[in-house]
Symmetry: C2
Subunit: 229 residues, 2 copies
């Protein structure tokens, strides 16, 4: 069954990079943005990189949700709750929301190497509170830097997936493995999202300090713990 | 100049493993414990594994501090503040305290895959508050599992080092590279210890879920960011 992935905030570098990788892997993607025109421009850029068979369109965020089964949030934290409230009425029953948002202190004028304290403990847990009942939330993709996604070649990073819904985790694990180089690991319950989000702040700090594009790999687990292409 | 490393709480698996690796690398180590006899027994076990030239003794924690320049804390969080208060009078001026403690919820009967909220934001920052003035604190080694340290062969894990004192960071980076396989990375200021400590909880959760001995590697930094043997 073909599925459609809506990457909300997909005109930003992280969302654009994820959308690009999924389109390159043959997935059907809608780039969502506050501005439909910007979304369409981004979709066109992805088409140019991915080729004529690319299954990609762009639309306004709320419209994008109405035709997608998988919603991926790649928005700055300052727009996170507002976007969820805006799209809530249009989220289709049975959809899965995959949240890559990190509550960086940069959202309120602070540093990108620090996080804000979120009452629910993580952006992803805030999402779980804001989506309609019955919609599963997965935390994933926070630690895969936009530069790596937008570059050519495999991505040297693992993706840890956290959710209270094992079926939703499975789908996110599968989506992660569509990115060449990525190994996907089930990280347990959604409550662990708080750690994934903080790791991003650490990686941003390392990038600034050492002038790199860092990621993480998890070592020492048995082979069956890692999903990959 | 020969230096002496006191591993406080070194009869526990993490401290024992670090002490073993350092002794094997030719460092001079004192195992510290609440109980001098247990410390001496642990030191003897390390001597048996590391050979007759091993420079290792065992003593009570507070005594160990009085003859060491580098103090490494590998104690359960429930004993953390009490130990620091106990050893404070004996800490030699110019010593460096390297804190590997993680405030796991297991300390108060909760899960080892969750952390407690510490007022100062991390165990290492609590340490900075409890040591005498002029003593530098470094956060490091939280994410290197005891099983890996106590096994034979190289350790497939990076050590991120955080401190407000760049000289202290340098010494901790150097100590980390004495462990075969480890790459040491400067992770910036001590405030980032909170993230290192949480990563341990994530890794413990992964170990439970996937039955492994996980660690982390940081990818994507330029070669000069990594120190190794």
């Amino acid at each position: 069954m073909p599925r459609t992935i809506a990457v909300l905030g997909g005109t930003g570098p992280e969302g654009f990079g994820l959308a690009l990788r999924w389109v390159q892997a043959g997935e059907t993607v809608i780039i969502g943005s506050r501005d439909a025109k910007r979304a369409q421009d981004a979709a066109e850029k992805i088409r140019q990189r991915a080729g004529a068979n690319a299954k990609i369109v762009g639309d306004e965020n709320a419209s994008a949700c109405t035709v997608a089964d998988l919603l991926v949030l790649t928005i700055p934290f300052e727009g996170h709750a507002a976007l969820l409230k805006q799209i809530k009425p249009g989220i289709r029953p049975g959809s899965i929301v995959i949240d890559a948002t990190v509550p960086l202190a940069a959202s309120v004028g602070g540093r990108a190497s620090r996080t804000l304290g979120v009452w629910q403990a993580s952006a992803a847990q805030q999402t779980a509170e804001l989506v309609p009942k019955g919609i599963s939330v997965v935390a994933a993709f926070q630690n895969v830097g936009a530069e790596l996604l937008n570059a050519e070649g495999p991505v040297d990073c693992d993706v840890i997936v956290c959710s209270d819904d094992p079926n939703a985790s499975q789908i996110a694990l599968q989506l992660a493995t569509r990115i060449p180089g990525v190994r996907a690991i089930d990280g347990g319950k959604l409550e662990n999202a708080r750690i994934l989000e903080q790791i991003t702040a650490l990686l941003i700090g390392l990038n600034i300090r050492h002038k790199g594009h860092s990621g993480i790999r998890i070592t020492g687990l048995p082979p069956e713990a890692y999903s990959s292409q």
